[in-house]
């Protein structure tokens, strides 16, 4: 059951010196009050109750709590607003002195009350005249942010970015591992050792059984597990283990060097990408630096908005500057920052890939360098060559630590290129291997042992690489499907929101402006399919689409749009509350539009509890005629030196009512009242 107000009590707030009590009993209410009578004290009190803030009192020139508190009440008296709702719920906020300090707090708030306040803060409960053009005046991304905040869409965008980054990270992992290269090297080993790049275990076993045949061991392998047993049998013959160990070390080093040699193309290619993106940003550091300035610019906007700085000068450099123009410039820069952020994201991705590829190679080389066999004098050249290669990959890695904004420069790709010269040791290793292999050839058992052992290792490595690659590919595929589905649901959610919202705004606007030239008002998302950059408002005017609305809209039209936007927001997003407060919103409307607005409320918002405040007598008269028939409460708000703001006491009978109306000079409504009464 939606929440409506049963009773509203306000004391000691703004113009309300003593206390006003409005027993609404879930009914709507029309309140008339002349300028300065303190009508907005009611709106202020309700806003303060929910938000512990009042937007128009929240700036540097004003101490909110002091401004809220009626200046005539003594320190011992609390200022308070209390609302009793229809759901056995009461909410009160007090403002009181504690050790000379004004304290604002919700009274006796239970979990239920806290949850209700938290949910209600996000709802559109009240609108004032000066807030009507708040949305329309925002930049395109500002509009997106405003709507995103209302529906909590910023969380959706954040989640989507996380999913995208996760997908990119797995994609980069696959690229950086260069599995194809590693598998291809192991296949070469298989060919050289057993004459075939077998991919099935049974084919490997077949080949191994062929290879061991000349040794007449009297056993055969049935599975890969049997290979160790066969190797053990062979080792009982005259196998030169020391030679095999050296051969194994040289073979592994050779394979790793071949792998690294192939990887230099990968790192070179990715470095060139990174280099290009780095230099693109370096050529326009200004735009990327802006991304770091975003927070400062936002703070600047706040300083101006909250009037912490009120002179027509820039708050930072203090040069002469029109503050309205300055706000527009800041908003423009914030728009540009959005675009720069996207360039920075692709740059970060390229940088991450270079860092991943190079660090993975450094890790592999370090693992090779940890082999104690390198300490032997014969292997000094290999150790140096590996250290040299480590330095080369480290050079690539260090480029990713350069700061483009600080003016750092990246070396040209030619300066980092890993050349054939860096792999000279490969030839030396091949020579040593040839010599070892020639020696081994003279010992059949050692040769067969070497071939079986190496092919088994190669086969298992291939399986491991294939397995790792398959796992990563599977995760990549899953993350891509998840990301695509997320984007689809996000788009559907947004489209549903925009269609629904646009239709409502247009419906309400057209209701208030029938037959006018501005048709089909809609809010339109901007940006790529999955990268929403902003929201704009367009409408049809003389058969052409117009954007932004300010182009042809008068002040009245803009405010009318603001009301339509607010009312559409109420329908779309208010889930807890079924009441709204409209404070003096029709000031810039002509008579016809004022009436249409009243008709709109009575026709389309019958199930809402509305608190309508106005100082426009003619409109009040028009609305009160309908309001009476709809059983609304109607009252006048007044102000006097002694009482402050107070509600007119209700006349007890017709005679008293007529006397009061005559006393107030309000004769035009009397006819209807008398007729109604008769």
């Amino acid at each position: 059951m939606p929440i409506k107000i049963k009773n509203l009590t306000i004391s000691g707030i703004r113009g309300i010196q003593t206390s006003i009590n409005i027993p609404l009993n879930e009914k709507s209410m029309l309140i008339y009050g002349e300028n300065g009578s303190g009508k907005s004290s009611i709106t202020d009190a309700i806003e303060w109750l929910y938000k512990d803030d009042v937007s128009h009192l929240s700036n540097a020139e004003i101490n909110l709590k002091e401004a809220l508190r009626n200046s005539h009440i003594d320190k011992a008296t609390n200022s308070e607003v209390s609302i009793a709702y229809n759901q056995n719920l009461t909410l009160s906020r007090k403002l009181f002195y504690q050790k000379e300090k004004l304290i604002s707090e919700l009274s006796n708030s239970s979990q239920k009350q806290k949850e209700y306040v938290s949910a209600s803060k996000k709802e559109n409960l009240l609108i004032r005249y000066y807030l009507l053009r708040d949305f329309i005046s925002k930049t395109k991304s500002g509009k997106l942010e405003a709507l995103s905040d209302i529906i909590g869409f910023s969380e959706v965008t954040k989640t989507k970015e996380i999913l995208k980054k996760t997908f990119n990270s797995v994609k980069n992992e696959i690229k950086s591992q260069n599995f194809e290269n590693q598998i291809s090297i192991q296949k070469e080993t298989l060919i050289s050792k057993i004459g075939a790049a077998v991919s099935q275990e049974k084919n490997l076993i077949e080949k191994i059984n062929e290879v061991i045949n000349p040794l007449n061991l009297g056993i055969v392998a049935a599975t890969i597990k049997d290979i160790d047993m066969i190797l053990e049998q062979i080792s009982k013959q005259s196998v030169n283990k020391e030679l095999l160990s050296l051969q194994n070390f040289l073979e592994t080093t050779k394979e790793n060097l071949v792998s690294l040699k192939n990887d230099r193309n990968l790192i070179d290619r990715e470095y060139k990408e990174f280099y290009a993106k780095f230099n693109k940003i370096a050529a326009d550091t200004q735009s990327i630096m802006q991304t770091y300035l975003a927070e400062l610019l936002k703070a600047g906007n706040l300083v101006i908005e909250k009037k912490y700085h009120k002179d027509n000068t820039c708050p930072l450099c203090l040069q002469q500057k029109d503050l309205t123009k300055l706000t527009a410039e800041i908003n423009q820069r914030l728009e540009e920052i959005k675009a720069s952020s996207q360039i920075k994201n692709t740059f970060d991705n390229a940088k991450e890939l270079v860092a991943k590829i190079s660090s993975e190679r450094i890790k592999r080389i370090e693992s090779m360098l940890n082999n104690p066999i390198l300490l032997k004098h014969d292997n000094t050249d290999i150790k140096q060559a590996l250290e040299n290669l480590k330095t080369k990959f480290k050079n690539y890695y260090e480029t990713t630590e350069k700061k483009v904004i600080a003016g750092d420069k990246l070396p040209d790709s030619n300066e980092l290129l890993i050349t054939d010269n860096d792999f000279k040791i490969h030839t030396e290793i091949l020579k040593r291997l040839e010599s070892i292999n020639n020696t081994i050839k003279n010992n059949k058992a050692t040769e067969i042992y070497s071939n079986i052992s190496a092919s088994k290792e190669a086969f298992l490595k291939i399986k491991r690489f294939e397995n790792e690659k398959a796992k990563l590919e599977n995760q990549k595929k899953s993350l891509e499907l998840i990301y695509n589905e997320f984007t689809k649901q996000q788009r559907e959610g947004l489209e549903s929101f925009i269609n629904n919202f646009s239709a409502k705004i247009n419906e309400f606007y057209q209701y208030m402006n029938p037959g006018e030239l501005f048709q089909e008002i809609q809010i339109v998302p901007m940006g790529e399919e999955d990268e929403l950059k902003g929201i704009t408002i367009e409408y049809k005017y003389n058969d052409g689409w117009v954007s932004p609305p300010q182009k042809y809209f008068s002040e009245g039209h803009l405010n009318c749009f603001g009301i339509a936007f607010f009312l559409a927001s109420v329908i779309a997003f208010n889930k807890e509350n079924k009441f709204i407060v409209l404070d003096n919103v029709i000031s810039s409307f002509d008579t016809l539009h004022r009436k249409r607005f009243a008709d709109l409320l009575f026709e389309k918002f019958t199930d809402y509890q509305i608190i309508l405040l106005t100082h426009e007598t003619e409109w009040f008269d028009y609305v009160s005629q309908i309001a009476k028939k709809r059983n609304w409460l109607i009252d006048n708000i007044k102000w006097s030196e002694t009482k402050g703001t107070y509600l007119d006491e209700k006349p007890s009978d017709l005679e008293e009512f007529i006397e009061k109306e005559l006393a107030d000079g309000r004769v035009e409504t009397l006819g209807n009242s008398i007729e109604d009464d008769i």
Binding site: I151, I482, G493, F501
Partner: protein, 62 residues
């Protein structure tokens, strides 16, 4: 006017998506479960996801 509120909030979009994540065709259930768990625990960050999916790869490898 009694309009049905058909617009989903951001939270509702996220809740709906994660409720259906296990049924997205072709998605590895371990990945989907990991993301769902992190979302439900309020730990849906890039680092947490990266750690979790790396663990899945390592566990499967073992």
């Amino acid at each position: 006017m009694s309009e049905e509120n058909t617009v989903k909030t951001g939270k509702e979009i996220l809740d709906t998506f994660f409720q259906s994540i296990l049924s997205i065709e072709g998605v590895d259930s371990e990945i989907a479960n990991a993301l769902l768990e992190l979302y439900n625990e309020g730990k849906f960050t890039e680092i947490n996801i990266a750690n979790r999916i790396r663990k899945i790869r390592e566990t499967n490898a073992n």
